[in-house]
């Protein structure tokens, strides 16, 4: 029973720290790192919930597996949008007439 409590608590602390990072940091990459840290906190809570003394619940494991892949896809899309928006801003700055 003990490891569940330790990792559930640690997951919640990591989640809260990531939430602060999303709000307080300015740089887009820092925000994305903070969102991914929040994700790790949530995954930690789910995996700790799945850990029972005698048997291991596979359903939260499958959810976390799905979550990891969706998180990397979302991160990649955000990064791509950031790169494209920065390129557009640069174009607008270098050609103000358009």
């Amino acid at each position: 029973m003990t490891p569940d409590i330790i990792y559930s608590g640690a997951g919640m602390v990591v989640f809260a720290m990531g939430l602060y990072g999303v709000i307080a940091s300015a740089h887009i990459l820092r925000k994305l790192v903070a969102i991914n840290i929040m994700g790790i906190g949530v995954f930690m809570l789910l995996i700790a919930t799945a850990h029972h003394d005698t048997l291991i619940d596979p359903v939260p494991h499958a959810m976390v597996l799905t979550g990891i892949v969706v998180a990397v896809a979302g991160t990649a899309l955000c990064l791509w949008l950031a790169v494209v928006i920065r390129g557009l801003e640069h174009d607008a700055a270098s050609h103000p007439s358009q």
Partner: protein
């Protein structure tokens, strides 16, 4: 019980400490590298909790690929122009 408890405490506090360091890093590069370290530590935690499937995926995707994506995007955002056609800008830098 107690040696395993020690390992649990070490892994959990290590995860919290790495998250704190990553969020408070002075450079974005440091922040990303510490996040990759956090992903690797998370891999150990998933293995400790018996989630071997998740541990394999986290090691490959969460720690490896996310870090590579973030570093590649950091390089793109640091360039002076995004549509620079010099050969140096075409190479896939990751640092």
């Amino acid at each position: 019980m107690s040696p395993m408890l020690f390992v649990d405490g070490l892994l959990a506090s290590g995860a919290i400490a790495l998250a704190l360091l990553s969020l408070n890093a002075r450079e974005v590069f440091t922040s990303i590298v510490l996040f990759v370290c956090l992903g690797l530590l998370a891999t150990l935690i998933w293995a400790r909790l018996g989630a071997w499937d998740v541990a394999i995926a986290e090691a490959a995707i969460g720690a490896g690929l996310t870090g590579a994506l973030l570093l590649a995007a950091r390089h793109r955002l640091r360039e002076p122009t995004s549509r620079d056609d010099t050969p140096a800008a075409r190479r896939p830098h990751v640092s």
